[in-house]
Symmetry: C2
């Protein structure tokens, strides 16, 4: 075994409890989960009607400081609805990192738009704003107040920054760039509930921002998501679009004024979410403690470093991220194989979007850093109970 592998194992063992297996990320239900769900069953409001959905939306607004929040069936549907509502049209290009979960690219494609891939920043693993600016200056031009891709002639309508593993992108800086290039921002904050740029929550900078409450996230509704937005009109449009676009002119009339979607969050899932949100501050404290322990312990391990919080913001440390100093696929696979075989669940980052068969031909800037990160990143166990 290479020394670096044994050093990593040794360090993980120092921090992690002795039981095996240790999953990458588990949900915990210490609060009112059962109470609220039993209330749903007793009241028989388990589906599209019921108070928990509205309550959940209000609490999400309150926690994030977003003016409005609209609950959805999951993070992917949230992103799809956000893109449509922000004005993404068939034939548009949508800028996004090559290094992201598949939902980011899929949501653009559901709109009939084309993903256009951006390189990663080595420090934050999010989009590299500086490189992006240089790239856009040569690869695009502005015509009639719209950014146009010089090669394809298509409008480059929007950009989706992704706060990967909870690590915030520098949104203030990105906003300046987007103003210059006439880009609409839709923030993919699926992984970053509890992450901030300054004192402002991720997902509240863009025209819309989206959250996910899948079972592997910091808090869960079983399956669920939400769109954050700034004004009542947008919130209404999002709610309308995600509830089959049914018009409410008459109590009993079934009239729909556009092709909408069934992207509702059921009341029973929202009930779970309300209970989870109550515990979010504690969960975030525990995640921060674990990240600090990892950072300290891995500080002395040669050849590898922990992804660190940027000076401009706060991470929720959803998934702790170990990075090889030098990209090395074989070494990465060795580490994954060794840790997983001993019951410590670790995983690599996603395959770059531009390597997937259906997105191979999408426009892209050069992706040097993303390629390096793909062969350097290992996520290590990050559940909130690991220091208990």
């Amino acid at each position: 075994m290479e020394k670096i592998v044994s050093d990593i194992i040794h360090t993980l063992k120092q921090i992690l409890p002795s039981h095996r297996p240790i999953p990458l990320h588990e949900p915990f239900f210490y609060g009112n989960e059962k109470k609220y769900i039993i209330d749903c069953i007793d009241s028989r409001f388990v589906s599209s009607i019921g108070n928990y959905v509205t309550e959940f939306e209000n609490r999400i607004s309150e926690f994030t400081g977003s003016a409005f929040a609209v609950a959805t069936s999951n993070g992917t549907s949230a992103l799809h609805a956000a893109l449509i509502t922000a004005g993404v049209q068939p034939g548009d290009e949508v800028l996004m990192p090559a290094l992201t979960f598949i939902a980011t690219a899929n949501a653009a494609v559901y709109c009939g738009a084309v993903p256009h891939f951006i390189d990663s920043c080595p420090k934050t693993i999010g989009i590299d704003i500086e490189k992006l600016e240089t790239y856009l200056e040569t690869a695009t031009h502005i015509k009639n107040n719209t950014l146009i891709n010089n090669s394809t002639g298509r409008p480059v309508r929007a950009i989706i920054p992704v706060h990967i593993f909870g690590m915030p992108v520098d949104m203030n800086r990105l906003q300046d760039l987007c103003q210059k290039f006439r880009l609409t921002i839709i923030e993919d904050a699926a992984e970053s509930i509890g992450s901030f740029c300054g004192t402002r929550h991720t997902g509240t900078f863009g025209s819309c921002g989206t959250l996910s409450f899948n079972g592997n996230k910091t808090i869960t509704t079983g399956g669920g998501g939400a769109v954050l937005c700034k004004d009542e009109d947008t919130a209404h449009r999002l709610k309308h679009l995600t509830t089959t676009a049914r018009c409410t002119k008459a109590r009993w009339e079934y009239f729909h004024d556009r092709t909408g979607f069934n992207y509702r969050m059921p009341n029973i899932n929202a009930a779970l979410g309300c209970a989870q949100l109550e515990q979010l501050p504690q969960f975030l404290t525990k995640k921060r403690e674990l990240a600090a322990r990892y950072a300290k312990a891995f500080d002395s391990v040669k050849g590898v470093h922990m992804l660190k919080e940027p000076e401009y913001g706060k991470s929720n440390f959803w998934l702790n991220t170990l990075i090889l100093d030098k990209p090395d696929r074989k070494l990465l696979e060795d580490i994954l194989e060794t840790t997983n075989s001993m019951g410590i669940q670790t995983r690599p980052v996603w395959a770059l979007m531009n390597t997937l068969p259906m997105y191979r031909k999408c426009p892209s800037m050069p992706l040097e850093c993303a390629w390096k990160l793909e062969n350097s990143i290992i996520n290590i166990p990050s559940s909130i109970n690991l220091l208990d």
Copy 2:
């Protein structure tokens, strides 16, 4: 008040309990709902991993006699996944009744296909198979084994029969027609769990069939659906498509081979579904009893009749349906207004799909009967507890 209105009120009052309001359709949780959901919370498997999803799929297969069932986030996503899997392509036309819930048309549009509307049968309120045959003989031709619309030149790839309010379409007869015209059948059985043609469950005749478990349906998972299919390969493709098309070549690799969807049913919703399925036979018995009571009571009311089960099959009587002998919008509105204002929830049928702004220009056969039904149908309270 017109005599017919007072007769209807009088008859409803005879059958319905005296408390108000009486909703159109309520879910009931008499069984293991709390037990199974608490088990989810205790095991912490509430999301995409967990045994209840597989168990729910197995029990759906068993109940319907379908070889395979794949659980989804709702009936709309089930239909979308079924259409893609059955081979519907962008630019295809998909035949469907003009008289249906919006999801039928939307699902086709999500595929990039064009709805093509069919008239209704006055007896079953489903598609009129006889009229359809006459229409297809003049409006289409077969070329290279594909049905082509003579006017638009587009392939007419598939047909979606809808078992409206649980009333089964004559699937044996439809299968003969579809063989003749090279049409793939995808059954929208969203409303018809427990409805049969002969001894065969609705949704098991087509290439795929879809179910819904929304809160207003005979049994509910909060929000949920399922696709029924005949062979393992189709079931695998449906599961793959509805779970982001992630490939499972390696344990930890994130590789996706097509643009998939996040259409999973969370484990906690499947747990609810398992408990509900256990009670489905009782629910169906109670619904049948209520329908029989309504049929007998309305038999003597002039100017109106109950929608009756066809001789070739069995309805689940999801929503009991009163039909005016002569279409009359004003009278219909009077009846709706009077019943709803006294706390007896009734509703009209959906606006015809071809009257909605986004589907106005879709191809259509003449819709005489659908127009009549739109101005004749009143759904009346149909919950399973009404005779208790």
